[in-house]
Symmetry: C2
Subunit: 222 residues, 2 copies
């Protein structure tokens, strides 16, 4: 018979949602996305399968929570004092660094539109756009342009990082790719793009894209 008295939450050590999420992040960072299974997780936590499902509803929930944890660290520390454009650049760079350090976050951001991590980013963008004087549906449009560009880029970086783990491996991979690409399509544009592929810097290119979008927004707010 359930008494109407307060139920104490029992002991606070041992398993908890927070500990599970942290363990998941550790596995994801160390061995990548495909390494995170319920089995590896339970073995890291030295527990059984069922216990985990008392704190987390499933893999989707866990991945969303892990991504939110990483993104939260970025958005919280984002500077508000700078002017809105700088703040948006800073936010973007922060997300880039986070995805660079945790490639699985990039894939996760593109996977599910209304997960906490994504909403967090939308909100930060929205606040800064307001500071920029953009409002109404123009703000939605501008926010979507920035957010979807960021998510798209993040997904591409994540997929790239999944293939190559260090810089020389990456360069070799891109060169081979460009060569194969040029071979099967000798178009001039393809040749030029292939030539630049191996040389380009992901970070610089990503930030250049942010600047392009900010310029485009600026031309409409006047």
């Amino acid at each position: 018979m359930t008494t109407p008295t307060e139920r104490t939450p029992r002991r606070s050590d041992a398993l908890s949602r927070e500990r599970i999420v942290q363990a998941a992040i550790k596995i994801l960072d160390a061995d990548g996305e495909q390494a995170l299974t319920v089995r590896t997780l339970t073995s890291h936590l030295a527990t059984g399968r069922g216990a985990i499902y008392h704190h987390v509803s499933g893999m989707d929930d866990l991945l969303a929570a892990a991504a939110d944890d990483v993104v939260c660290a970025v958005t919280e520390h984002a500077a508000d004092d700078a002017d809105p454009s700088s703040a948006l650049r800073g936010l973007s760079l922060g997300i880039f660094k986070a995805v660079d350090a945790h490639p699985w976050v990039g894939a996760q951001l593109a996977r599910e539109p209304f997960q906490p991590a994504v909403l967090r980013i939308w909100k930060r963008i929205g606040v800064q756009l307001q500071g920029l004087g953009v409002a109404g549906s123009a703000r939605s449009d501008a926010g979507a342009a920035l957010a979807n560009y960021i998510f798209g880029s993040a997904a591409q970086f994540a997929a790239g990082a999944r293939r190559t783990r260090n810089e020389t491996e990456r360069r070799r991979y891109l060169e081979a790719l460009a060569a194969a690409w040029i071979e099967q399509d000798g178009d001039q544009v393809v040749c030029e793009a292939g030539a630049e592929l191996a040389d380009h810097d992901d970070r610089e290119q990503f930030l250049a894209g942010i600047d392009i979008i900010l310029s485009g927004i600026a031309t409409r707010v006047k």
Copy 2:
């Protein structure tokens, strides 16, 4: 003993890579991404499992080929005669329609950076940017801005379509989502964004984003 003579490719009917890809597209369109398994595929084709792997290296290969088939129809029919900006808008709209009709393509485009379908899009964008007078690393930057925005948007649409299959269901879902969002964060920006969420038109917003990026590119080419 392998004779040095030409080997004829045997009969041309029966199973083929093309037939397998078409069957996969039919399944993906009818029942979504998670419905495409090697088992459903073999049952649709009335064959066994091993036969499929003689024509397709695995699920990744199959999904990439299916996406390429859809994207190819878009890029081939894209108009070249219009001015570059219109051509880029037309290409974007074509991709939007394709993703709208085949949501799984959106998820696939964001999954793997150097699959054929993605390269096809990159190339079309590159060609039109050249027509716009953008060259060198500026073209890479501008192309990345457009492409990653498109891929990010496509992934978000795909995920949205995965949840809701008709318009009223979609509206109800978005309204519930906006309400939940506003409830847990009463910020003014969040409230306004939530209010606009249910009303906005994906297609218009997507095209507005393209225009923003094109404006941004235009300010740099002068």
